[in-house]
Amino acid sequence: MNIKRLTLVSLIALGTLVLSACSGAPVSNNWHGLAADAERAYISSGTLVYAVDLKTGNEIWRYPAEIDSKLLFYATPVLTADGQLLIGSAGTSHPFVSIDPTTGKENWTESFAKGAWLASPLILDEKIYAPNTDGFLYVLDMSGKETADPIKLGGALWASPATDGALLYITSLDHQFHIINPTEGVVSDPIDLGGAAPSSPAVGADGVYVGSFASTVDFIQSNGKHEVIATAENWIWGSPALDGETLYYADLDGKIYSLDLATGSQNWDVVQPDGPIVASLVVAGDRIYAATEAGTFVALDLEGKTVWEKTVGAKIYTTPVVAGDLILVAPYQAEFVLAAYDAQGKQAWTFTPAK
């Protein structure tokens, strides 16, 4: 092979390599999904889902046993009352999977959706309502079989539905908000939020509260009446957190808001940790937990004063999860995938998967 031919073939090979490095997978990467029960934390982390012992921080099992590059898990795993752990894949192959949370063994797997799974399902009255990025809400029985035609909602569904026990409330990424009567299979006229809403609404006594990229918080009643009740300085990514008559929410400027629902006024002027806030706020007891993109995990009291603040060391996008006496944080692209803190902010353990 002469030099010119070698050069040509090398250039083509180099081009192939560089372009291949762009990743052909439709879903490239995302932050972790995190859930917990009394004994274990469950974390979806790309090709694997892990169960971690809450006492020790040690791995109990991983799913699947053999890595399949077509499977990617980013959604928050969901535990069911009948002892299943449900999660869908966001990879090039997108089955919806039921795992035994004690052993990590697969109960069943079903492939019916055209798109990736980024949202977690909701369980209501022995039925699984599973939102997919293909714009359909799939209705399954507890063994994963479709019990009705999927409900077409339009835009990609990234957020889990919320329920008041009777109706389903769900956001789609095309700026629309949907109210569904699951027993009658009726979908109300969509409500335009003015911006994409990637997270679930918070359910209150009289309706639901949802934040959006329009930098507003909308209050939506079950009859479809809605109004903007608050604004923010930047996009609202996470779900609002409702605590009695107070609604807490945060924006991408990193500001945390406390809205008095009775008066419609803000309870404090400026509470702003050190970075944008994507994760939902968590209210537990007399603490508000917030995690920032700058990698800070902060506990506030209900007046907005900092109780303690920890530097986790990597960006945090995943909503923290309270598990018994611990609060769990899953940083993105860190040395460890999970850290546990006690109520005083002392780190109990970190979990780094073995290779």
């Binding site: 081009g15 372009l19 990424l173 911006g195 994409a196 990637p198 990229f213 996009w235 991408l252």
Partner: protein, 268 residues
Amino acid sequence: MWDTIIINPMTNILVWIYDVLGHGPHMFGLAIILFTILIKAITWPLNASQVKGAQAMQELQNDKEWLDMQKKYAKDKEKIAQEQMRIYKERGINPFASCLPTLIQFPIIIGLYQSITHALSVTPYDMLKLARAIYPFQNVEGIIPLNSTFLWMDLGRPEGILQNLIHTSFLPNGFPLLALIVALTTYVQSKLTMPTSSNPNDQSAQMSSMMSIYMPLLLGWFALNFASGIAIYFITSNVLGIVQYAATGRANWSNLLPGGNKKSSTKK
């Protein structure tokens, strides 16, 4: 650096065109087509130099000094190579001029691919990055997320039709119509622009001949496996290239026929 210079400007232009078009269904596909026309206009000087380079190479094949040199050093390939380089230098001919524009397309293709996947934001993390990449003057809240539908395709995913009828491990997305069109148009374009030569030792012609085989296969493979938005770019770019070359009156249509490239006559 790469993001700042290539990806972010490309993404912003794509998003801006999409917004101007009315940001509805099919508009992102149209935005890619218009963006490709823009890229073609910008790279027009490169393409013109390709035409000029190919013409110079064609003329050289019938040049007396060139033919004499080939005959004289027929048994000494090293000497032929030296003499070829001397003649190239003396006459100001760049032997890579005909394939250089194609190779220069690679960074554009990579940038476009990343811009398309960037703009379509298939995960929350991608969307967060997109939000940071969009310039402040754009109405990003109103247009995010971009509608990735174009004809029968989702531009953020590999293309395929008849998925219900054709579903094999080799063709997981159905019949690869776009990939075939990409390969065909790439083949036609490279054949039309390929210099003709009656000289079996002409390395330039050998290289062009190789390119006309490898490039359709390579780009067809990309179209098969990557986001269908990139296939829209390939097809638009190829068709524009064919039209552009045909407009110069130098398109060698006989090259498309079997054995056509052995003919020595070219249109002038």
